[in-house]
Amino acid sequence: MKSAVIVFPGSNRERDMLYALEHISGHKPIAVWHQETSLPDVDLIVLPGGFSYGDYLRTGAIAGLSPIMKAVKEKAAKGVRVLGVCNGFQILTETGILPGALLRNAHLKFVCKQVRLEVATNASVFTSRYTQGQVIDCPVAHHDGNYFADEDTLNRLEGEDRVAFRYTPETNPNGSIRNIAGVMNDQKNVLGMMPHPENLIEPAQGGTDGRGIFESALEWVA
């Protein structure tokens, strides 16, 4: 199982992600600089967290225009698995690969804390290792994680079983509509999520609930 992590100027959880992928899969992922125009042949592409380009202008806006994003789009369209976490999720919505937008947190402050996530569907390559409705721990750390989409889009996402994770109502940290924490594209090979599963994969970090996402996504595709 081969994976790649895209590195933008200002990415800052790429090292956490590289570590998590290697720790769980046993294979070293490839770090790909944002100015590259092509991607190696991998099974999983990850857009990590951070503040790409300082998130000046708007979160993910400039990173969305990086040369590598064209290649990411093409791979995603071909069905390669793409995971965007935090800033990665923001970049995926900015480029239209995923629907909706991440607004400023409802309380207008950065928030770093442990939340509870409900696995809204386990019928996906990212969540198959969980049970449907399972509630897991996961940390969040963001300023702009308030998911928003119009009613039609939300109904479609839910109707097509494309909501991967929801915050439990009492731990929704940012005001996300319908408590949505992570959504998938229509082919369900692209997942964007605000929480950081890569920071909860070992007992030393306080738990291993985040592993399931990687274990699911890294499963060998025949």
Partner: protein
């Protein structure tokens, strides 16, 4: 001959913060009237912030060496050996004045500055903390400053990508017009991968890297060396503007560049910018420096030599590079899209020469700029000693339970969750214990070891008795690190005081240093870096003496660390140490009784060492399940905090030898509360007896209430609501400033 087109008047000299005798010293040194640029350079090098002219004499008395110390004070940060070829690089620095004038930018650039100090030495920052002190909650500016400072700290650290894992937040009217923002950062490097600022070799290129130079922060260090008055808000242009994104690029580029072997010497541009960094590199290497300012990347057109030499624009580095590696270096700069330029070269004449538009604007003896800076032995008077106050002379509360509820909800005692949830304390994935415990813990590398960090000082003790207060700051830091099972290795100090020209203030400074030195020696915790911030006064009113201590400890096996939370029901709660119920200068006395009287608690350093070593051994041997030291608020507050964080109650039997309120709220030093599985209690007590450590079984964990025999029980839920409630409620009120 150097041209002098500006008249150097006494007013101009005074505006540069130079006293008449200091100006005379300049004339004697260079034998002519300085140019305006030269005057600016002297003012930058000789202000209190950069020259330590009032504090140097006393700083020399601090213990700075030890078997693990690789670099002590004098470099950008201290370097301490943590085995396996790894080192921890750390320092703390104040950004008080800028944070009061412009809270967000002041705090943000404070964080940026300290991170830069750490990675300039070749270390990747892995942990940040801050000691923050604000005015009284009812002061109309306080809410505004808290909000801006916390957002600024988070805004910079979160984007840069360092976990902010601990610190202090306190409120006192004495900080009403002079808040304190002390930023700490620690980084990791290999012992053979440390970079220093000493330039080596003549005729080598001096390279500028990072953000462009603008007009921000001109004379920031001079401002930081003066008292405030009512017009201080007009000093806003002296505050720098931070750009954490640029700093992140600078970090990656600097570390990558160091890998190429191109870096011979490196110095970040902090206080007094280009001036300080260039002079330091040259003087340390006993070389000269020639700068051509026309090459410096500028944000604005028409900047003068004076402005460029004094700009404190952020995110800039100066380095001496190996000319044979120019190509590799250029590739790194280009990859990270950073401005860089060769702005000068090293020379052999030990002169600091600055050119602008091909004209010589400054020509000064480089070593004298640092070595010949004034040094003062300021007059000082010791603070008057206060008599101890007997516990029975401090009034008891009508209801002990109500007093406890009130205590845990005080501005100085309540949960700081509102603050730390705005800081990314998990990034890098190595946080083992984040904010809220006695010490924060991160893991390090593959060997399974960890580092513990804590920031501490009790300013009210320092004011009541500077020597004991100085000792206590070190002892509490050492104790907090010990309480998680780590061995304290070394510390950094951030000494915040008022105007040193007043003998009483200088007396506080001298006393605190004496106490700090004594404690560092007794507890084997040398000071390896630090910062002095004086003139923290507004309209003649000084802050409380606040010498913050930032300590670092090592855990050989990070999985052995424990926290303060009760972990199981039915465990025995044991008090370790001699608890006399000391109420003088306690939180109870100050905030419940409304008095600050009596001597602060005595610090018995031998007892600290003995009790701490015992507790650490018990932790490492797995014989205790939770540990918390006694500090602000006393024994009952310590137990309440253990209960709240573990969500398990306790039943306690108070001592019959001292008044109940003194037993509950006395702040004796060298004391810990530990829990032990009941079947292990006797063994621990026996072990302590053999070692000559005083112990007392004080109760049992369990239930959902905190019960002190003879007093009505208090539910954990009520305690929690009181503890968690104050800060969010306070901060959600409308900002009236």
């Amino acid at each position: 001959m150097i041209k002098n087109d500006v008249d150097i008047t006494p007013e101009l000299i005074a505006e540069h913060g130079l006293k008449p005798d200091e100006y005379q010293r300049i004339l004697d040194l260079i034998g002519r009237t300085p140019t305006l640029t030269e005057l600016g350079i002297f003012s930058a090098m000789w202000n209190e912030h950069c020259s330590y002219k009032s504090s140097k004499k006393w700083l020399r008395t601090l213990p700075t060496e030890g078997p693990r110390v690789i670099e002590g004070p004098g470099e950008n940060a201290g370097v301490v050996d943590i085995d396996d070829g790894d080192v921890v690089v750390f320092k703390m620095e104040s950004h008080n004045h800028p944070s009061f004038i412009s809270p967000y930018e002041g705090a943000a650039t404070g964080v940026g500055g300290i991170l830069r100090d750490v990675f300039t030495m070749g270390a990747r920052p892995v942990a940040a903390m801050n000691a923050l002190r604000f005015g009284a909650p009812e002061n109309e500016r306080t809410r505004h400053i808290v909000s801006g400072v916390v957002e600024g700290v988070g805004g910079y650290g979160n984007c840069f990508g360092v976990p902010t894992i601990g610190g202090e937040v306190n409120f006192d009217a004495r900080y009403n017009d002079n808040c304190l923002v002390n930023a700490f950062a620690a980084g990791l490097a290999k012992a053979d991968g440390i970079f220093l600022s000493e330039a080596k070799g003549v005729g080598l290129p001096i390279v500028y890297l990072g953000s462009k130079t603008g007009r921000d922060g001109i004379h920031g260090a001079t401002m930081a060396s003066a008292e405030f008055d009512d017009d201080s808000e007009e000093k806003r242009p002296t505050v720098q503007i931070g750009d954490p994104f640029s700093e992140k690029l600078l970090l990656e580029a600097t570390l990558e560049l160091m890998q190429t072997g191109a870096v011979i010497a490196i110095q970040d541009m902090g206080a007094a910018g280009l001036t300080c960094s260039a002079v330091e590199m040259g003087a340390k290497g006993n070389l000269g420096v020639r700068l051509d300012l026309d090459q410096v990347p500028c944000r604005e057109e028409g900047m003068t030599a004076y402005e460029m030499m004094l700009s404190e624009s952020q995110e800039r580095m100066l380095m001496v590079l190996d000319p044979n590696k120019e190509e590799e270096a250029a590739a790194v700069f280009k990859k990270w899209d950073l401005d860089f330029a060769i702005v000068g070269e090293t020379t052999d004449d030990q002169r600091f020469k600055v050119y602008r538009h091909k004209e010589l604007m400054a020509d000064l003896p480089i070593n004298d700029l640092g070595d010949e800076a004034p040094e003062y032995d300021r007059p000082w008077v010791p603070s008057p000693k206060l008599d101890p106050i007997a516990p029975s002379d401090v009034p008891a509360p009508a209801d002990l339970g109500q007093a406890l509820l009130q205590l845990v909800s005080l501005p100085d005692m309540c949960s700081r969750r509102w603050v730390w949830e705005q800081y990314d304390n998990l990034i890098q994935g190595n946080t083992i214990a984040g904010p809220g415990g006695d010490a924060a813990v991160i893991r390090v590398g593959e060997e399974g070891k960890g580092l513990a960090f804590s920031l501490d000082v009790t300013p009210r003790y320092c004011e009541a008795d500077p020597v004991e207060g100085g000792k206590q700051a070190v002892a509490e830091c050492w104790r907090n690190i010990t309480a998680v099972g780590a061995e304290p290795l070394a510390a950094t100090d951030n000494l915040n005081f008022g105007n040193p020209e007043k003998p009483e203030i200088m007396g506080q400074f001298v006393g605190c240093i004496e106490g700090i030195g004594e404690a560092c020696l007794a507890l084997d915790m040398p000071i390896v870096s630090g910062n002095v911030s004086l003139y923290n006064e507004t309209n003649g009113q000084a802050i409380l003496p606040t010498p913050a201590i930032g300590g670092v400890g090592l855990l050989p096996d990070v999985t052995k660390r424990i926290g303060k939370s009760f972990v199981a029901e039915g465990e025995t709660i044991i008090l370790i140490g001699t608890h006399t119920g000391h109420l003088g200068q306690s939180i109870y006395q100050r905030d419940i009784v409304g008095k600050t009287a009596g001597a602060p608690p005595k610090v018995d350093l031998a007892a600290e060492k003995k009790h701490g070593d015992f507790v650490r051994n018990a932790i490492r041997g797995g014989r205790v399940t939770a540990v918390h030291d006694i500090s602000d608020g006393g024994l009952l507050v310590a137990v309440a905090e253990m209960g709240m964080s573990g969500k398990i109650g306790a039943t306690l039997t108070p001592s019959k030898d001292i008044p109940l309120h003194a037993w509950a709220f006395g702040e004796d030093q060298a004391c810990y509360v530990v829990t032990v599985p009941t079947d292990g209690a006797n063994a621990l007590l026996k072990e302590a007896k053999t070692a000559g450590i005083p112990t007392q079984v004080i109760g049992t964990t369990g239930g959902s209430e905190l019960t002190v025999e003879g007093v009505s029980p208090i539910s954990l839920a009520d305690l929690d609501a009181a503890h968690e409630g104050w800060l969010p409620k306070y901060m959600s009120a409308p900002d009236t400033h």
